[in-house]
C-alpha cells in the first residue's frame, strides 16, 4: 500500500493558519513613539521647517507614505544647514516611506546613504536606539527583496560577526541569513536547494548555539524545526521542538503553533516511512508518525485554546483602553498592537472554524499508520471515527477505500463487501471507484465463491459509470477467470476468446492464452489443448507458465489415442531434470503432480503386461507335458518380472509424490489412496509406516496428522504379521504333506490288504498321527513366533501413539490430545477380556485394571507429575477406558476426581466440556458453571464452545434466571456456536420463552423441535409436553390435553416426559369435569413400571385420591 497524497485543501488550510500565527506573534512594526512625540509636542509658533516636519510625521502616522515622503523631501531641502542628527532622522524617515511603498531600489539607496553619512545614526532623537541596526536589517531586507542575495549576506555577515552588536540583533541576523539562504535557493536546482538548506541549518544552529532561552533564539529554533521537518529530519525536528516546548509560556499561541509543528513532524515521518525500504525502519517511522498524530490536539481543544486566547486579548485590550482614556503616543502604539493581535487571533479562529477536515485528517492519518503497522482493528476504529463524526470529510472516499482494506484484514468479508457497495452507490464519481469495484468481487473470489464474484464483477461492470479502462479490462478478465475457477470451461473459454479479441494488447495476454488452452485441457479435448499450448510456447518460450504447460503437454501425450506413454515418461523426466531443484512455490507444488504422472504412466505400462501374463498362464495350464508347462511358466515369470519393474517404478514415483505433497493436497490424497492399495498388498508395511511417519511429522498438530498417525499404527501392527511366517508355514506344510500322503497311503494299503493286520494298521495310523502332531508342533512354533511378533508390533504401535499423546499432554490448548487419548483408550479397552458383572476374570487375563495401569504408563503420567493438565488428562483417559469397557461407575469416579481436584482454568476445552456436562447431569451446578464459564472465556473458538453456551444456559434456566438463559441462547445462535448442542440450545430457549410468557415464540420453537426428524427422541417428548403446558397456561384445555396425550402415548421410552404427560392429561380431564376418565388415566400411569419411581408418580397418587 502506498501513502495517500494529502489533500491540498488540508495543506493550504494549515499553511494559512501558520502564516497568520507567524505574522501576529513576532509582529514587526516600527517603533516611533518618541519621534512622533517630539513632533506632536512641538511648541506653538515654531519655525516653518518644524511645522513641515510635524505635518510629514502626521501623514506618516496616517500611513500616507507618498504624501509624507513629499513633505520629508521638502524638509530636507529647507534644512540643509541642520545638525546631522536631524538630517539622519529625515533620511531614515524617507527610507521608511520607500520601504512601506515597497520601492526597494530607493529604500536601498536611501539606507545605504543613511548608514554611510550618519555613523551615529539618529542619535537619541527617537530614543536610545540610533536606528542604525534597524537600518542595516531593513537594507538587507531590501536587498533580499530585489534578489541581491550576496549583498544581503555580506551585510548580515558583518552583523553576525560584530562583537559590539547586541546578542538579540546577532541572533536575528543569523535567522535572517538562514531565510535568505533558503529564499535564494528556492528557484535553483535540487543541488542548489540542498546547499541552501544546508547553509540555513548552519546559520540557525549558530543562532541557537547557546540555547533557546530568549524569544529571538526560540524564533530561530522554530525556523530550524521547520527546515528539519521539510527535509524529513523528523528526529532532529522533534528533539529541537521538545527543547522549545520546554520554554513555552503556556500561551494559546504557543500551544497552537507547537501543535501544528507536531502535525508537520508527523507528516514528515509518515512520508519518510512511506519511502523507506527497510521494513524495521519503516515500522519505526510509522510508529513515530502515529505518536505525533496522537499527541496532536483535537479541534475542540484547539478551538478552546483559541477562544481563551481571544478572550484574554479582548480583556487586555479593554483594560488598556479603559486605563488610558487619553492615550499618549506610546499607549496608542500598544493599543494598536493589541488590536492587531486580537484581529490576528480572530482570523486564525475564523480560518480554523472554516476548516472542517482537521479532526478527520488526524483520524485518517492515524488509521493509515495503524494499517501500515498491521493493526487493522485499531485502524478500523480510526476510520469508523471519521464516518461517525466527520461524514463531510473532503477525503471521505479515501477513508472508505482504506476502511474496506481494513475490514478485509480483520477477516470481515461480508461487511467489507457491504461497504464496497455502499461506497459505489454513494460516490459514483470518486477516484477510488475502480479499485473498490474490483475489491467487491475479489472478496468473493478469494473466498472461492465464484458465482457470487461473477455477479459482483458484472454488477460493477454494469453500474459503475466511471470505471477506468484498466479496471474495466480487469473486471472482464476476472469474470472469465471466475468462470474458469468454477469449471465452466466452455463459458470461460468463450470469455477468454472474447477478451483476447477485445484487448489485443492486454498485459494479461500470456495468462489468457494459457487459460484458454487449459479450458480445452479440462474438457479432455487434447487436440485443441495441444494446439493451445503450442501457441503459448511459440509466443512465450520463456513464459511464466512454461513449467505447467510442459507438464500438461506430457498429460496430453498420456491422454491421446493411441496413448504415447513412453513419451509421457520422457517428458516428465525432462521436466524433473529441469525443475526438480527449483525452490519456487509453483514448482514445489507441481513436483508431486509430475511424479504422480510418472507413476500413472508406469502403472499403465505395467498393466500392459497383464494380457501376456494371462495368456502365458493359460498356456501353462493347457500344457500337455511338464516341459511345456515349465516353459510356459518360465515365460510367465519373465513377463511378471518386467511388469514388476514398472510397478516398482510406479510405486517409487507415488512415494516421491507423497513425500513432496505437503503443499499439494490433491496429489497427496490421490497417491496415498493408490499406495494404501498397493503397499499392504505387497506386504511393504515397513515402507508404509516410514512414509506415513514422515507425513505425520510434517505437522503433528495438523488435523490430518491423526489420520497419518492411524496409518502408522496400522502399518506397525501389520509389520508383526510378517510374510516370512506365512512362507515358513507353507514350507512346513509342503514338507509334511508328502510324508503325510505317504503315511496315509500306507494306512490305506494296509487296510485294504487281506486279511488286514490290525497291528500293522495301528502302527501305520500312529505314524500318521505322529506326523500330524509334528506338523502341528512345527506350525505352532511358527505361529508362536508370529504372535510374538504381532504383539511386539502392537506394543510398538502403542508406543508411537503414546509418544504422540505425550508430546502434547502438557499443552492445555492442544485439542488433539484428547482425540489421541480416546484412540489409545479404545485400543487398550479392546485388549480387556470382558466378563459379566460379579464374575471374576480368569487368572492372567488382561483386565480393565491392567488397561488403566498401562494407560498411566503410556501417557507417562509419572514423568508429568507437575503438569496439572497432564494429570487431569490421565483421569480423563481412565474415564474413557471405562466408557469403552462399559463401566459407568469408573467413568463417574474419574470425572469426579477431575471435578474435585482441578480448577477450570487448568483444563483443556474437551475436558471442560465433557466433565462439565457430567457435572451438570449430576446436578453440581456451581462446579459445572465454572467449567462452562471457562469455555466461554478461554475457549470460545474451540470445537466445544457450544457446550459452554448450552451448559451455562441450562444452569441459568434451572436457577429460574430465564432472561439470562435466553440471552445466552441468543448469543450462541448469533455466534453460530450451536454445533452438537443445537437441539439443547433450541430446547432451553423455547422453555425460557415459555417461562417468560412469550408463548407464540416458544410454541414456534417447540414445534420446530417436534417436527425435526433428526432430533426425534427425548426432546421431542419434552417439546410435546411443553406445547401442552403453553396451551394450558393460556386456558386452552382441550388443546393442552391433546399435546399431553401425544406426549405419553408416543414417547413412553422417555419416562420423565411421559409421566409429566400423563399427569398433565389427568389434570386437564379434571378441569374438563371428566373425573372418572382422569382416575382411569392415573391408574394406567401408576401401573407403568418405568413411571413408578418418578416424582410425578407421587403427585399422581395424591391427585387420584381426590377423585
Amino acid at each position: 500500500m502506498t501513502a495517500h497524497t494529502e489533500s491540498s485543501t488540508f495543506r493550504l488550510a494549515r499553511a494559512a493558519i501558520l502564516a497568520v500565527l507567524i505574522a501576529v506573534t513576532p509582529a514587526p512594526s516600527v517603533v516611533r513613539a518618541q519621534a512622533a512625540g517630539a513632533v506632536v509636542g512641538a511648541k506653538a509658533g515654531e519655525d516653518p521647517v518644524t511645522t513641515l516636519f510635524r505635518e510629514a510625521e502626521q501623514l506618516y502616522d496616517a500611513k500616507k507614505y507618498r504624501e509624507a515622503l513629499g513633505k520629508y523631501v521638502e524638509v530636507e531641502q529647507k534644512a540643509q544647514e541642520a545638525e546631522d542628527m536631524y538630517k539622519a532622522v529625515i533620511s531614515f524617515r524617507k527610507a521608511s516611506c520607500y520601504y512601506f511603498m515597497k520601492d526597494w531600489p530607493r529604500t536601498e539607496a536611501e539606507l545605504t546613504s543613511f548608514l554611510a553619512k550618519f555613523p551615529k545614526g539618529t542619535q537619541d532623537f527617537f530614543d536610545a536606539d540610533n536606528r542604525r541596526g534597524v537600518a542595516e536589517l531593513t537594507l538587507i531586507e531590501s536587498f533580499s527583496n530585489q534578489g541581491k542575495w550576496d549583498a544581503a549576506l555580506v551585510r548580515l555577515e558583518k552583523i553576525r560577526n560584530s562583537l559590539t552588536e547586541r546578542v538579540e540583533v546577532r541572533v536575528n541576523a543569523f535567522a535572517l541569513s538562514a531565510k535568505i539562504s533558503v529564499d535564494r535557493a528556492k528557484s535553483g536546482t535540487e543541488e542548489v536547494k540542498k546547499a541552501g538548506y544546508s547553509q540555513a541549518i548552519g546559520f540557525l544552529q549558530q543562532a541557537i548555539g547557546e540555547g533557546v532561552n530568549t524569544p529571538e533564539r526560540r524564533e530561530a529554533a522554530i525556523q530550524l524545526v521547520e527546515i528539519y521537518t521539510k527535509l524529513g529530519l523528523a528526529k532532529e525536528a522533534e528533539q529541537l521542538k521538545a527543547k522549545v516546548d520546554a520554554f513555552k509560556t503556556g500561551s494559546p499561541a504557543d500551544l497552537i503553533r507547537s501543535n501544528f509543528q507536531l502535525l508537520s513532524i508527523g507528516d514528515a515521518r509518515f512520508t519518510s516511512a512511506d519511502s523507506a525500504v527497510d521494513e524495521a525502519v519503516r515500522d519505526t517511522l510509522y510508529r513515530q508518525a502515529l505518536a505525533s498524530y496522537q499527541g496532536t490536539m483535537r479541534s475542540a481543544a484547539v478551538a478552546r485554546d483559541l477562544a481563551k486566547a481571544i478572550k484574554a486579548k479582548e480583556e487586555a485590550l479593554e483594560a488598556l483602553t479603559k486605563a488610558n482614556p487619553k492615550p499618549n503616543d506610546e499607549t496608542k502604539v500598544r493599543i494598536e498592537q493589541s488590536k492587531q493581535d486580537l484581529e490576528g487571533f480572530r482570523k486564525i479562529d475564523a480560518d480554523f472554524k472554516a476548516n472542517k477536515d482537521y479532526d478527520a485528517f488526524i483520524s485518517y492519518r492515524i488509521g493509515l499508520c495503524l494499517l501500515e503497522l498491521g493493526r487493522p482493528w485499531e485502524a478500523y476504529v480510526a476510520f469508523k471515527d471519521i464516518f461517525e463524526r466527520n461524514a463531510g470529510f473532503s477525503r471521505i472516499t479515501g477513508a472508505y477505500y482504506y476502511y474496506v482494506i481494513t475490514l478485509r484484514q480483520m477477516g470481515r468479508r461480508d461487511e467489507a463487501q457491504k461497504v464496497c457497495k455502499e461506497f459505489l452507490q454513494k460516490f459514483p464519481k470518486a477516484d477510488e471507484t475502480s479499485p473498490v469495484a474490483i475489491t467487491l468481487g475479489e472478496i468473493s473470489q478469494d473466498n472461492e465463491d465464484y458465482k457470487e464474484a461473477i455477479n459482483h464483477y458484472q454488477w460493477a461492470r454494469d453500474n459503475v459509470s466511471n470505471l477506468s479502462p484498466d479496471a474495466a479490462m480487469e473486471l472482464d478478465f476476472r469474470i472469465a477467470a471466475c468462470q474458469f475457477s468454477q469449471f465452466e470451461w466452455d463459458e470461460a473459454r468463450k470469455a477468454f476468446d472474447a477478451f483476447s479479441a477485445k484487448y489485443v494488447r492486454s498485459p494479461v495476454r500470456q495468462q489468457v492464452l494459457y487459460m484458454t488452452a487449459l479450458c480445452w485441457f479440462y474438457q479432455g479435448k487434447y487436440k485443441e489443448t495441444k494446439e493451445g499450448f503450442d501457441k503459448y510456447q511459440a509466443e512465450y518460450p520463456k513464459g511464466m507458465f512454461i513449467p505447467d504447460v510442459r507438464y500438461r503437454q506430457a498429460i496430453v501425450r498420456f491422454g491421446v489415442q493411441p496413448p504415447e506413454t513412453e513419451e509421457t515418461i520422457r517428458m516428465c523426466e525432462e521436466w524433473l531434470k529441469d525443475y526438480a531443484d527449483d525452490k519456487s512455490d509453483e514448482i514445489q507444488v507441481q513436483l508431486p503432480d509430475v511424479h504422480t504422472l510418472v507413476g500413472d504412466a508406469n502403472i499403465r505400462l505395467a498393466e500392459g503386461f497383464d494380457k501376456a501374463i494371462r495368456e502365458a498362464d493359460l498356456v501353462a495350464r493347457a500344457a500337455q507335458s511338464p516341459a511345456a508347462r515349465a516353459q510356459a511358466l518360465a515365460k510367465k515369470g519373465e513377463i511378471e518380472k518386467q511388469k514388476e519393474a514398472f510397478t516398482g517404478k510406479a510405486i517409487d514415483a507415488y512415494v516421491a509424490a507423497a513425500k513432496l505433497g505437503m503443499r499439494n493436497a490433491n496429489a497427496l490424497e490421490f497417491v496415498l489412496r493408490e499406495l494404501n492399495k498397493m503397499l499392504p498388498g505387497r506386504g511393504e508395511h515397513r515402507r508404509m509406516r516410514e512414509l506415513y511417519m514422515e507425513l505425520y511429522n510434517w505437522d503433528t498438530k495438523d488435523p490430518k496428522a491423526l489420520t497419518y498417525l492411524y496409518e502408522v499404527i496400522r502399518a506397525t501392527e501389520r509389520m508383526g504379521d510378517r510374510k516370512e511366517f506365512g512362507e515358513r508355514s507353507e514350507e512346513i506344510q509342503k514338507k509334511f504333506s508328502g510324508e503325510l500322503a505317504k503315511a496315509r497311503l500306507k494306512v490305506d494299503q494296509l487296510e485294504r490288504a487281506t486279511p488286514p493286520v490290525k497291528a500293522s494298521i495301528d502302527a501305520a495310523k500312529n505314524e500318521v498321527k505322529a506326523l500330524s502332531a509334528k506338523l502341528a508342533d512345527e506350525l505352532a512354533v511358527v505361529e508362536k513366533e508370529r504372535q510374538a511378533a504381532i504383539a511386539r508390533a502392537k506394543d510398538n504401535a502403542l508406543k508411537i501413539l503414546s509418544d504422540a499423546v505425550a508430546e502434547n499432554i502438557n499443552d492445555r490448548r492442544q485439542e488433539g490430545a484428547e482425540k489421541l487419548i480416546g484412540f489409545l483408550a479404545e485400543k487398550l479397552a479392546k485388549k480387556v477380556k470382558r466378563v459379566r458383572p460379579g464374575t471374576k476374570p480368569e487368572p492372567g487375563a488382561y483386565t480393565s485394571a491392567d488397561a488403566e495401569i498401562e494407560m498411566r504408563k503410556l501417557l507417562r503420567l509419572d514423568e508429568n507429575k507437575d503438569s496439572l493438565v497432564a494429570q487431569a488428562r490421565g483421569f480423563y483417559a481412565l474415564g474413557q477406558i471405562a466408557v469403552f469397557t462399559r463401566e459407568p461407575a469408573k467413568t463417574e469416579l474419574n470425572f469426579n476426581k477431575i471435578a474435585a481436584n482441578y480448577k477450570a482454568d487448568e483444563l483443556s476445552p474437551t475436558i471442560l466440556a465433557v466433565v462439565g456436562d457430567h457435572l451438570l447431569e449430576k446436578g453440581d451446578l456451581a462446579k459445572a458453571e465454572t467449567y462452562f464459564a471457562a469455555i466461554l472465556t478461554v475457549a470460545r473458538s474451540s470445537e466445544y464452545a457450544d457446550y459452554g453456551y448450552a451448559g451455562q444456559a441450562e444452569i441459568q434456566m434451572r436457577r429460574k434466571k430465564y432472561k439470562e438463559a435466553l440471552a445466552l441462547c441468543d448469543e450462541a445462535i448469533e455466534a453460530r456456536a450451536l454445533m452438537s448442542k443445537e437441539l439443547n440450545v433450541m430446547f432451553i430457549r423455547a422453555q425460557c420463552l415459555a417461562e417468560t410468557q412469550k408463548y407464540d415464540e416458544a410454541k414456534k420453537g417447540f414445534e420446530e423441535i417436534a417436527k425435526t426428524k433428526e432430533w426425534r427422541g427425548d426432546k421431542t417428548a419434552g417439546s410435546l409436553f411443553w406445547l401442552g403446558m403453553i396451551e394450558e397456561r393460556q386456558g386452552r384445555l382441550p388443546e393442552a390435553l391433546a399435546f399431553y396425550r401425544r406426549c405419553y402415548q408416543g414417547w413412553k421410552r422417555y419416562e420423565s416426559w411421559s409421566a409429566k404427560g400423563y399427569l398433565g392429561a389427568a389434570r386437564m380431564l379434571v378441569k374438563l369435569n371428566q373425573r372418572p376418565d382422569a382416575k382411569v388415566l392415573l391408574t394406567e400411569m401408576l401401573s407403568k413400571d418405568r413411571i413408578k419411581e418418578t416424582p410425578e408418580a407421587d403427585e399422581a397418587k395424591k391427585l387420584s385420591l381426590t377423585l
Binding site: 514587526p28 485499531e378 473458538s941 464452545a945 453460530r976 456456536a977 454445533m979
Partner: protein, 338 residues
C-alpha cells in the same frame, strides 16, 4: 522592518521555575521540600536548606530567615497568603502514580496522603499539587475496589469547596461512574459516558471515559461496542500511557467475548492474545500485565517475554516501560543482609 521584541519576564520566569517556590505578596519564597530526606542520618531527617523557607503544617505558616544588615530576621507568613505555588516535580506523586499503575494502590495511598495534607491549605492556589494528589488518591481507591472507602472519600470531596475545580469535578464524576459500573448500573453508565464524551475535550478524561464505557459494555456482553470503546484509547489517546494498558486489557477481553466458531476467520483469540502480549511487552510491571499473565497460555507469555527482551535490547521500548526483573532465586536473595 524588524524590531527586537523581548519577552524577558516570561523567559526569566521559565528559568527560575526549577525550585519549590511560594509566591507570597509578589515575593518569591523558595521553600524546603518536606519530603526530601537526609538518608545519611539515622533515622532519616528532612533535609533543610537554611536559605529556604520552612513550611509549618501545624501552624499553617511558612517561615523564612534572612540576613538583613548582618542580622538574622525571621519572617512568617500564613499559608493562606500564598498566591502561587511553583513545585516542578514531586517524586512521591510520581511514585504513587507508578504504584497505582502497578496495581499496588495501598502503597500509592501511603505516598499520596502526606501530599494531600501538605497542600490542603493551598488546594485552590494555582500550581498546588493538592489536586494531582487527590486525583491519584481517587485512582488508588478505584483500584482497591473498596466501594465504601471510595464512596466516603467522594462524599467528602463533593462537599469540599474545591469540588468546583473543573478537573476535580470531572474526576469525581468519573469515579462515581466507575462505582456505578461496578455496582452493575451499566445502562445508565453507558448513557452518561456517551453524553460526557461529547462534551469533553481533555485527552486524559476522554481516555478514562472510554474505559468506563467499555467496562460497562463488556459487562453487558456488548462485546463489539466494548471493543470499539476500549480501542479508542490506544488509537486516539495513545499519549495517555496510564490508561492504555487498561484499555488493551479490556479490548483483549472484548475480543474473547466476540469470538466464536462462526467468526473463526477473524482470528479473534489470536488478536486477543496479541493485545495481552502487547501489555506484557510494553507495560510489564503494570497491574494489567498481571491479569494478562493469568489469561495467556505459557507459550504466549514466553513469546511476549522474548519480544520484550528484543525490544529492550534495541532500545525501542517507550518511556515508562520497564523490564520485569528476573525472579531472585532463594539462595541468591541478599535482601536479609541489608
Amino acid at each position: 522592518m524588524r524590531t527586537l521584541r523581548t519577552l524577558l519576564p516570561a523567559a526569566l520566569l521559565a528559568v527560575s521555575a526549577s525550585a519549590q517556590t511560594f509566591v507570597i505578596r509578589n515575593e518569591r519564597w523558595e521553600v524546603n521540600d518536606p519530603f526530601k530526606m537526609d538518608t545519611a542520618s539515622m533515622p532519616p531527617k528532612p533535609l533543610v536548606d537554611p536559605k529556604k523557607a520552612i513550611i509549618n503544617q501545624v501552624t499553617g505558616s511558612v517561615q523564612r530567615t534572612v540576613l538583613q544588615s548582618g542580622i538574622e530576621v525571621t519572617n512568617t507568613r500564613k499559608l493562606s497568603e500564598v498566591t502561587q505555588v511553583i513545585w516542578p516535580e514531586m517524586p512521591r506523586l510520581t511514585e504513587a502514580r507508578a504504584f497505582v499503575n502497578r496495581g499496588d494502590p495501598a502503597k500509592a495511598l501511603d505516598n499520596v496522603e502526606a501530599v494531600i495534607k501538605l497542600f490542603e491549605p493551598l488546594k485552590k492556589v494555582p500550581g498546588s499539587l493538592w489536586l494531582d494528589a487527590t486525583v491519584i488518591k481517587l485512582d488508588a481507591l478505584d483500584r482497591l475496589n473498596n466501594d465504601a472507602a471510595l464512596g466516603g472519600f467522594l462524599d467528602t470531596l463533593e462537599k469540599d469547596e474545591a469540588a468546583s475545580l473543573p478537573e476535580l469535578a470531572t474526576k469525581i464524576q468519573l469515579s462515581r461512574l466507575l462505582q456505578r459500573s461496578r455496582r452493575g448500573d451499566h445502562e445508565s453508565v453507558i448513557r452518561e459516558t456517551d453524553e460526557l464524551i461529547g462534551k469533553m475535550d481533555d485527552a486524559g478524561v476522554l481516555a478514562r471515559l472510554h474505559i468506563v464505557k467499555g467496562s460497562s459494555l463488556l459487562a453487558t456482553r456488548k462485546y463489539e461496542a466494548a471493543m470499539n470503546a476500549y480501542l479508542r484509547v490506544p488509537v486516539f489517546y495513545g499519549t495517555e500511557q496510564d490508561q492504555v494498558p487498561k484499555a488493551l486489557l479490556g479490548a483483549a477481553q472484548a475480543f474473547r467475548g466476540m469470538d466464536g466458531p462462526a467468526v473463526r476467520e477473524q482470528k479473534l483469540e489470536e488478536t486477543s492474545f496479541r493485545y495481552l502480549r502487547d501489555i506484557l511487552v510494553t507495560y510489564p510491571v503494570s497491574k494489567e500485565a498481571e491479569e494478562a499473565r493469568k489469561i495467556l497460555p505459557k507459550e504466549e507469555i514466553a513469546k511476549a517475554e522474548a519480544e520484550q527482551k528484543k525490544l529492550a535490547t534495541a532500545g525501542l521500548l517507550p518511556d515508562g516501560a520497564a523490564i520485569k526483573k528476573a525472579a531472585v532465586r532463594p539462595e541468591d536473595d541478599q535482601s536479609a543482609n541489608r
